[in-house]
């Protein structure tokens, strides 16, 4: 085997080792440092963390100092029923009053999930074992369905109802 070929093999090998080294999983943020999702695009695979709260276009309002903040924490997970995976949210119903500031803390504990609330223009990726915080003002009265946008998850029951009372 020629000297040049050996050098080429070693160079490619070094490149390979470097690439493996760079594929190390990034450390998850500490549990008390929540990710604030800022992704309202309809792309279930994308994760963007730039620490800006979600403020959908049609939801922009001056922040009222007397505004009530309602906070909810829940999990995204998968349970197995008769051997079939059934993705779920641990919280099925959220009730708030119109004008409340809603803060949702979502943790994906098993599987691949996200969070979508169409009427408020909210979409958030929820990477595994990381708390994602979604904030918005409940400025519409009615019942709205929030759900996981991964294929088949909503149909399998991964959805809940946001009730906004007058």
């Amino acid at each position: 085997m020629g000297k040049k070929i050996i050098i080429a093999v070693i160079a490619i090998g070094v490149l390979g080792i470097l690439s493996v080294a760079l594929l190390k999983k990034p450390q998850a943020p500490a549990s008390n440092t929540p990710i604030v999702a800022n992704d309202i695009e309809n792309n279930a695979m994308e994760v963007k963390n730039n620490n800006m709260p979600i403020v959908p276009d049609d939801n922009e309002q001056p922040i009222d100092e007397k505004q009530v903040v309602k906070e909810f924490s829940f999990d995204s997970f998968v349970e197995f029923v008769d051997g079939q995976p059934k993705p779920q949210f641990s919280l099925k119903e959220i009730t708030v009053n119109k004008g409340d500031k809603v803060k949702l803390k979502i943790t994906n504990t098993k599987g691949m999930h996200d969070f979508k609330l169409d009427e408020f223009g909210i979409y958030a990726s929820t990477p595994l074992n990381q708390e994602v915080v979604v904030e918005f003002t409940a400025n519409k009265v009615g019942e709205f369905v929030y759900y996981c946008n991964q294929p088949g998850h909503r149909q399998a029951g991964q959805w809940g109802t946001l009730k906004v009372l007058e």
């Binding site: 080792i17 594929l23 695979m45 994308e46 995976p85 599987g111 998850h153």
Partner: protein, 203 residues
């Protein structure tokens, strides 16, 4: 088939070269999707590199029949095939947790699993020792199954690329080209072989 390479050093260098190419390819696929989460990014990179290596492995044979100069590359099928199986196994290991927790993917999951199992059998029998043990005709029969692996893998990948996640995944287009190129090359090589054979019979 029989390569007749006796030197372990030569075998090692051949695998070092092809293995490095495999890792480099995974890395390039990894680089191409900076917006994805770690897990999705890695298993897509592994899956794309796996299919690319299967494509390379299966085009070397027909290319050698169609183009005499490409026959020098044909003996590399053994290494590319083994590294295809290793990439497929890595993809499986990374994705199995997700695959088991997702609804409605039983069939594509099964197709992938059959393809992987067969690929591992072919990888384990990719040696001169296996050829000698099985005999050339039975070894050939077994390894012609590589094309079945290709069609199983193509169906498996098509489902995820075009049906389950029809988002903007740039690999859909190279995948289509590769998925069509293999049967076209295979058919062309077959036609050329038939023509050559008929000419020989004529004379």
């Amino acid at each position: 088939m029989l390569l007749g390479i006796k030197s372990k050093k030569t075998l090692f260098y051949r695998h070092l070269l092809v293995g490095s190419l495999a890792i480099a390819l995974v890395y390039l696929f990894w680089l191409s999707r900076p917006g994805l989460s770690y897990d999705v990014r890695l298993w897509r990179a592994l899956g794309d590199a796996t299919f690319s290596f299967l494509f390379i492995t299966l085009t070397l044979g027909p290319l050698a029949k169609l183009w005499a100069r490409a026959s020098r590359l044909a003996p590399w099928r053994r290494e590319t095939g083994i590294w295809f199986a290793l990439l497929a196994l890595s993809h499986f290991i990374r994705v199995i947790g997700y695959a088991l927790s997702e609804p409605d993917i039983a069939l594509p999951r099964l197709l992938g699993l059959i393809a992987l199992s067969w690929a591992l059998v072919l990888a384990l029998t990719s040696s001169d020792r296996a050829v000698n043990f099985l005999g050339i005709s039975s070894w050939k029969w077994l390894h012609h199954g590589a094309y079945i692996i290709f069609y199983l893998a193509a169906l498996h990948a098509s489902y995820f690329l075009f049906m389950r996640y029809p988002d903007d995944n740039w690999f859909r287009y190279p995948f289509l080209v590769m998925a069509l190129t293999v049967p076209i090359l295979q058919a062309s090589a077959f036609v050329k072989t038939v023509i050559r054979q008929r000419r020989q019979d004529w004379y």
